[in-house]
Amino acid sequence: MLVMRHELLLVIITVILLLVEIFLPKDQKHKIILPAILLFTIVTILGFLPGITGELFGGMYVSTALTMTMKNILNIGTLIVFIQSVSWLKKEENKEKISEFYLLLLSTLIGMDYMISSGDFMMFYLGLELATIPIATLAAFERYREKSAEAGVKLIFTSALSSGILLYGISMIYGTTGSVYFTDVKAAFEATPLQILAFIFFFAGMAFKIAIVPFHLWIADVYEGAPINVTSYLSVISKGAAVFILMIILYTVFAKIAIIWRDVLYVTSIITMTVGNLFAIRQRNIKRFLAFSSIAQAGFILLGLIGQSQLGMTTVIYFVLIYIFSNLAAFGVAGIIANVTGKETIDDYDGFYRTNPLLSLTMMLALFSLAGIPPVAGFFGKFFLFAAAAQKGFYILVFIAVLNTIISLYYYLLVIKAMFLNTSDQPIGYFRSDNYTRIGLLLCVAGILVIGFASPVYEFILNLSYGLY
């Protein structure tokens, strides 16, 4: 039982919160916020205890030191989202749905944990669906806003179609190998044309979830329409979990057709980076802007996957960890501005430094980290990614990636310029953010500043990555 520690703890607190929600009188729903955050903090801390590795359910569930680290990373990110969303949940219109937010968010986290630990395609599919379906309801959370419902319906339809395509690929894999267990499939894999077709279907389905370019069209609309805290969860935790499991499956199940998926990743990586960056330049809404920036970041992540080495694996996990902190900081600042003033376009940020210097500095750090400017953690993440790809001889790819970094620098600096240099007749007035938001942003800033310089984090992940190879 202790092997499944992460999932069991999450299930237990989900059931506790559900029962509390059922039996709590209607006028006391807001009291659940602090206990929920404290319970989840305890779960996050317990997750760091040294765990037992092993298999359950005859190999359907596999827990290694690596998957445990991935789950801890996701837990930390979710904790920050929990803390950041308090100011939004306390608004009058959300008062009756507070515990639903926690319940749905925790369900998706359970799904992601099972997905990462899956040892066969059935567990993988169940985890994937459990991680996607509740997010659609979260995207449609603000029932009184048309945009929110639109985001929900776009998310549920695209994700359902993508899982249908993915399932079709899995059914072909089952038909050609006779098993759905990763180890058996790996042993029986022969790279026949039908299996390669199955891989293409599978990759298309996963590309929908990570938003790799030919399959990215849903992302900007969903990000813009969904409530901003849900968007931040969707952009970091969901994407991170999908990247982790894609990496595990590519490296284990599809190891025999590495030559083929390397080409696929090569092309999609270049398109994803370029399209994400070019579209980000012309966005005026901060949520759409961050949506396209996250597409571009997905392209950089593919750069690390392509190496198929221990270094590549380490850098991807490390990069996702840094990306979680940087993106959550950016979304945290954008979220508090949207919650207090309701303003969401970049033009509204003119002269923001004059009125709210601390929030502007936090935003600047986050955007520097996303762009990869030296003193902050994002630089190290990107540097290691490029090194991993260059080590395997993908020099042209690395060159294109560096060019893309320069483009991305341009549009990240546009936001910073708006905040620090532009002046405005009606700047956003001074406001005091509440304590929860401050704690959340402080955690993010600490992450951005510390992880870049703390080499033990990097070496820790590097040692774990031996396991899978």
Binding site: K147, E150, Y174
Partner: protein
Amino acid sequence: MFEGIPLTWFLILATVMFFIGIYGFLVRKNLITILMSLELVLNSVNINFVAFNKLLYPQHLEGMFFTMFVVAVAAAEASVAIAIIINIYRRLTNIDVERVDEMKY
């Protein structure tokens, strides 16, 4: 019951159903009809799994179990989608997909 029917026929049926579903998803304008097309896609996968299990690998029941889980998950997906569609209907008094276009590129 299935003796004499070659596997290819099942696979052709599943493939045709899959692409009819995809076609319906792309062409249809009513959100409920789009949902029905999605069910077609998932059910074509179920045919694939059951046919493979029955005709190629009858010693284990992995394909059958996979089908069961796909059915259950499809029901959950459909109920969430219908709930969101009802919400859209209440906002717009319409479930035409062309009208759900407040955000576009």
